[in-house]
């Protein structure tokens, strides 16, 4: 069977890609998408550990479930904010939201 290491490596690569996306992208929507990728990586990690290391307690599964739920909440809320930003600035570019500077 496939060892745990493979899942972890997959999760790490996915996480790095998401991280890159969050930092590199300018559009708020795309940042949101990148965050989703990172959350998916985290969820893979949780489930892999639950399945391999903790089959009796499987708290990791519950955590993954919560991650999904919170991610859904986050997307909803973040989209509200993006919409607000768009209405204020006529753009979804996060660089436009720079009022809070020196």
């Amino acid at each position: 069977m496939i060892p745990l290491t493979n899942f972890l490596v997959l999760s790490a690569l996915l996480f790095g890609i998401g991280f890159y996306g969050v930092l590199a992208r300018r559009s708020a929507i795309l940042i949101l998408i990148s965050v989703e990728i990172m959350l998916a990586a985290v969820a893979i990690n949780f489930i892999a550990f639950a399945a391999f290391r903790d089959p009796k307690g499987f708290s990791g599964l519950v955590f993954a479930l919560f991650v999904i739920a919170v991610a859904a909440a986050e997307v909803g809320l973040a989209l509200g904010i993006v919409l607000r930003l768009f209405r204020e600035r006529r753009t979804a570019n996060v660089d436009a939201a720079n009022t809070l500077k020196w």
């Binding site: 660089d95 720079n98 500077k101 020196w102």
Partner: protein, 635 residues
């Protein structure tokens, strides 16, 4: 005896009551203060039988009873203990009647004198506070308690001198008195700390025992005792800190009688007397006291000759008499000093209250506006003359006995010229007291408006005067063995308050007393010759030596000197410090630091781009750094 703490506790409680609620009480609470004073006198006299008993058992004099109450402060397992303790011995037993009786007289007298004044209740409250502090002072068994009370009487004095604070001069005088005595108090505090450092205790009797056993280095002890005497110089208005007492006459006259004649100013005498066994060990310090007292006595006596304000004359006289007491202490004659303190308190309080009666009646206090008042105010005049005779040292009056003992004390062991100087000062005393009486009560009225206005004071003023006049007449008899025995003290006050190897007296030294009497009579004669009638000879004398007169009127230019020192040296130093504070501390230190921070802040603020990705990048870099550190530390 175990519960003498009640004595200061009563007036302290009354102070709080009257200060807080006096405004609301009938008669603004003065009766409360007077009842307190009366109680105190009663309590003090009720102490005497017990005191006599202890005295006769022989374990009392010169060692008193030290009543330890509790440790007020105890730091470091006995390293630093401030106890609350009382100590009663013969010196205390001389002070207690003086304080309580004079205080009571002044309280009664003030009912009329201060009638209708604004802040009447406050006057009585502070009077009570003063009594509380003064009693704490004389009953204190340790130096910290003594110091607290010492400052307490200073505070009361400040408040009462500045009682008419609406008057600029009164406010100035109060400040002057407080600050000048503070200079001495610093010396006292240094002395206390030095003594504590050497002995590790604040208990007065332990310190005395340590000093007598030679446990303290002699030079160290000398320095410490000189600092201690510094406190006495300030409080008892000795040269060079005597300048505050004449100005303190801005306060209400009864206050001058109580605080600035009878009680507070003798605190210094009390302090030195209390430590007299130690001063007997350090003769340099004792000689210093002796010469300070002598110089002060002469200077103040000469200044008293020319002063015009009736109260100022009395103030100079007080300074001079305090000098006498220090002369006695300087020769080791504690008994003589305490005896003079005792008698002086009564006749000087009498004189002050008498002058208050005059001022009350005429609303004038310059001798140039007075004169001929004996016809209008016979009682005041009679009591005032009794006081003056006592001050001048005429036999049977109190001053004669005590001054005689001081003069006799100088004869033993002090240079002859000091004896002569002291006699000369006694002569001066007689001259200026005669001058005061003549200018005030005899001759022609100089200011008819004031004279016509004058009237005899009411009974409530006359009664204390009469009582004090009686005391001023008989207080000297306590020196006599027979009187002492009748009261239960063998040998009178001279042996009651004494020190081993010191001059004890049971009856006057008759040849010396005759000499002193002759000197006093001569002084009176000279005074009469100069100032009787229209005082023509005095005016001639003034024209004959204008420089000397100017020197005396200007108080030896001491006040001008001090003012000059303050103006130039202290203000110059203050200017320097102000410059330092402004340029170095403020502009370089505070503003400079702020500007540096501000500059860096201005530079660094551009890190705040306001762009969320930048922040996220910073966060990410930090997170990666933490991860790397954690990973590498795991191996």
């Amino acid at each position: 005896m175990d519960h003498v703490w009640i004595l200061p506790a009563i007036p302290a409680a009354i102070f709080i009551l009257v200060a807080l609620f006096g405004r609301l009480m009938p008669r603004q609470g003065d009766f409360l203060v007077i009842i307190g004073g009366l109680t105190l006198v009663g309590l003090v006299f009720s102490m005497f039988p017990g005191f006599q008993h202890a005295y006769h058992d022989g374990h009392f004099a010169p060692n008193g009873t030290n009543v330890f109450a509790f440790d007020w402060v105890n730091i470091g397992q006995g390293f630093f203990i401030i106890p609350f303790s009382t100590y009663v011995d013969a010196i205390t037993m001389v002070m207690l009647p003086v304080v309580t009786i004079v205080a009571l007289m002044v309280m009664i007298y003030s009912v009329s004198y201060m009638h209708g004044e604004p802040r009447y209740f406050w006057y009585y409250a502070v009077l009570s506070l003063f009594v509380a502090a003064m009693l704490t002072l004389v009953l204190s068994g340790n130096l910290i308690q003594l110091y607290l009370a010492w400052e307490g009487v200073g505070l009361a004095s400040f408040l009462l001198i500045g009682f008419y604070w609406e008057r600029q001069s009164a406010a100035e005088a109060a400040k002057k008195a407080f600050i000048t005595t503070r200079i001495g108090d610093v010396g006292l505090l240094i002395g206390i700390i030095l003594l504590w450092r050497a002995t590790g205790t604040f208990d007065i009797q332990s310190i005395i025992a340590a000093a007598k056993s030679g446990a303290i280095d002699h030079t160290y002890l000398t320095v410490a005792m000189l600092f201690l005497f510094g406190g006495a110089i300030g409080k008892s208005a000795q040269f060079p800190l005597h300048v505050w007492l004449p100005d303190a006459m801005e306060g209400p006259t009864p206050v001058s009688a109580l605080i600035h004649a009878a009680t507070m100013v003798v605190a210094g005498v009390y302090l030195v007397a209390r430590f007299s066994p130690v001063y007997a060990e350090v003769l340099i310090a004792r000689d210093f006291i002796f010469y300070t007292g002598l110089l002060t006595a002469v200077m103040a006596g000469t200044m008293g000759l020319v002063a015009n304000d009736i109260k100022r004359v009395l103030a100079y006289s007080t300074v001079s008499q305090l000098g006498f007491m220090f002369v006695a202490l300087g020769t080791g004659a504690v008994g003589a000093a305490m005896f003079h303190l005792f008698t002086h308190a009564f006749f000087k309080a009498l004189l002050f209250l008498g002058s208050g009666s005059v001022i009350h009646a005429t609303h004038a206090q310059e001798v140039e506006q007075l004169g001929g008042l004996r016809k209008k105010m016979p009682w005041t005049a009679a009591t005032f003359i009794i006081g003056s005779l006592a001050l001048a040292g005429i036999p049977i009056f109190a001053g004669f006995w005590s001054k005689d003992e001081i003069v006799a004390a100088t004869l033993e062991g002090a240079p002859v010229w000091t004896f002569v100087t002291l006699l000369a000062t006694a002569f001066l005393t007689a001259v200026y007291s005669t001058r005061l009486v003549l200018l005030t009560f005899f001759g022609e009225p100089k200011d008819h408006h004031a004279y016509d206005h004058a009237h005899e004071s009411p009974l409530i003023i006359i009664a204390p005067l009469a009582l004090l006049a009686t005391l001023a007449t008989v207080a000297g008899f306590f020196a006599l063995d027979q009187v002492g025995q009748a009261l239960g003290f063998v040998g009178g006050i001279g042996q009651l308050v004494y020190l081993e190897h010191a001059h004890a007296f049971t009856e006057p030294d008759w040849p010396l007393a005759s000499l002193a009497t002759v000197v006093a009579l001569a002084g009176i004669g000279v005074g009469v010759a100069f100032w009787h009638g229209d005082a023509r000879r005095a005016v001639t004398a003034r024209q004959w030596a204008p420089d000397l007169h100017a020197l005396l009127v200007n108080r030896y230019y001491m006040d001008k000197l001090y003012q000059g020192i303050i103006d130039h040296a202290i203000l110059g130093l203050a200017g320097l410090v102000a410059w330092f504070d402004k340029r170095i501390v403020n502009e370089t230190g505070v503003d400079g630091g702020a500007q540096t921070i501000g500059y860096f802040g201005y530079r660094l603020k551009f890190l705040q781009t306001g762009r969320i990705p930048n922040y996220a990048l910073g966060m990410a870099v930090g997170m990666v750094a933490i991860a790397i550190i954690a990973f590498s530390s795991q191996g």
